[in-house]
Symmetry: C2
Subunit: 349 residues, 2 copies
């Protein structure tokens, strides 16, 4: 076990693709080797000198807005500026295939020969601690590998997925004319998390209308935010709430682009740099990383307990109570309490 971890520690530092891939698989699975690896990375960080952290850029939006194409265009742009780039593509994968779509991988092939580009797909399902914890672990490995920029592509709908995008240092919300107008973005609940909005496929009819709608919705959402962020400043929301207290000060620009032809990409890269500078100046970067770590630790703890609960739930006594609950004859909370007690007695923390 430690032999492999030793090898991986070296491989991560040298940014060896195979070792990075293996290390990420380990921390994503959360097995003993993964835990050991995360421990060693923290140990190393304690010993080593302060170094610039990876800038984490979240890219999110409804299916079909062109996130993967935009990701590919941004890789090219950052590489042209001499920056190393890692990509974590969180695919809302099928509950069965549990993997990334071939399409995305193929679209990324053009960069596969460049050792300063690392691309990884992550399933959005099947992580005991939830997606946020698993993504946090993966970001730690990529940060240790010293990538200048880490692009996290997630679909912009769905609780877990939106939380991951919102936890980035800079969050880009993408829309497309027609399908992604303001109302749809509001429905997706991604208006408040954008530090930067991009209307992609700007050559299509209605792009300017979408951009205008968006600017209106943003000012609306910003005021709404200030009104309600107070009452939400507890629990799991804390991550996004803290993050967005400051978005009220930062006015998210709305840009237009055509990712498929690299049109408007330079402006996006510039806007990312602007937001990063602003976030550094205003302590927002620290706030987000604290919030991210907080949620990562809590989610990891919940995951630990959930695995115990599921172990306890495999007992036949539980199956009986489930069937009673299914027929509406047993009380779900009573069954849950019994399960928690079972968990407590069956495993010492």
């Amino acid at each position: 076990m430690t032999d492999e971890v030793d090898r991986l520690m070296a491989g991560i530092a040298e940014r060896k693709v195979r070792d990075l891939a293996r290390a990420i698989t380990l921390v994503e699975n959360g097995g003993p080797d993964g835990l050991e690896l995360l421990r060693r990375l923290a140990e190393q960080a304690r010993g080593g000198a302060e170094r610039p952290r990876s800038h984490v850029v979240g890219i999110t939006g409804s299916p079909g807005v062109g996130k993967s194409t935009m990701t590919a265009a941004l890789i090219t742009a950052f590489r042209a500026r001499g920056q190393s780039v890692a990509v974590v593509a969180v695919d809302p994968s099928s509950p069965f295939s549990g993997g990334a779509l071939l399409g995305d991988r193929i679209r990324m092939q053009s960069h596969s020969s460049d050792e300063n580009v690392f691309i990884r797909s992550m399933a959005s399902r099947g992580h005991l601690g939830g997606l946020a914890a698993a993504a946090g672990h993966v970001l730690r490995v990529l940060d240790a590998a010293g990538f200048d920029v880490v692009l996290v592509e997630t679909v912009g709908v769905g609780q877990s997925e939106v939380e991951v995008a919102a936890a980035a240092d800079t969050t880009i919300v993408m829309l497309a004319p027609g399908m992604g107008d303001g109302i749809q973005a509001a429905k997706a609940g991604i208006l408040e998390i954008g530090d930067l909005f991009v209307v992609n496929k700007a050559d299509r009819e209605g792009a300017q209308t979408t951009a205008r709608d968006l600017r209106q919705m943003i000012s609306l959402a910003t005021s709404q935010q200030n009104a309600t962020s107070r009452q939400n400043a507890t629990g799991p929301q804390k991550t996004t709430t803290e993050a967005d207290d400051a978005v009220a000060e930062w006015t998210p620009p709305v840009l237009t682009a055509i990712a498929s032809t690299d049109t408007g990409i330079d402006d996006i890269v510039a806007a990312i740099a602007d937001h990063r500078a602003w976030a550094l100046d205003h302590g927002e970067l620290d706030r987000r990383r604290l919030a991210r770590a907080r949620e990562e630790v809590i989610a990891t703890a919940v995951g630990m307990v959930r695995s115990r609960i599921e172990a306890a739930s495999s007992m036949s006594a539980f199956e009986d109570s489930v069937s009673a609950v299914a027929h509406g004859e047993a009380d779900v909370h009573g069954a849950a309490e019994a399960l928690v007690d079972e968990m407590g007695s069956s495993a010492g923390s």
Copy 2:
């Protein structure tokens, strides 16, 4: 407390809108009154005679496919057949507003005078036990109120949202031409959960192509499913996996419709009835309700523990470890373990 619960028990039986709304708020919040109410409902079910349960129909699809319009059209169709209908609209709400969009409510107003129609919006965020548990609780109240049909509208992207739709007795996956083609549906991971597919906005260009693509992707997904359902038959996936073991036998029809003009709605209602009959014959209905109850109990148990963990996480010692984790200097699992131990000692189960 019990006074109100007594009143609500009576109000639920008589399907009084205000009492239903209040009861749902209580079980959604999971406070003491909510728990008491769920206990009483189970007690009542044990005492009472077997009665037909509500048929739960999940309606899901990407933002903009027209789910709300379809929901409204289905309400009209079921009412025309003399069936009572409840709607639970799960809006992927903003992390800040945490509520439903006015638009949906307005679209539903036409039914607001009919006491055999009950419409409720649910936030997809902020439920300690997760969306699945909260939705399960809400379904129990609506089932107790004796609604013939319960329509659960959720956006078809995102782990929690897809799980809720997949847990229905019959799941309708909606797409629209252009934006919702097969690839996008596969990306959204909603191909495997559909018992019935509807290409909405069928008057738009490309509707037939989308329907054809869809039929191809479905046969693809079905075979893929059989190949991989085995290895996923554990943990949280169990719900959907069990549910979909049988979808391989049932071939999901692909229908076209124009919800805004009530075109094709009768065929959809007929297909829902067909699937219900098939699911009853093949024991699939029982399987899904068992799986739903199992996940509801586990999620509720996890929620109980999560609230304890968050209570423990409010201590300043935890804030220090979070900041160390944020700077990469402390190991996230170590911090999580400490939190779990703290939880264990700070609260007896």
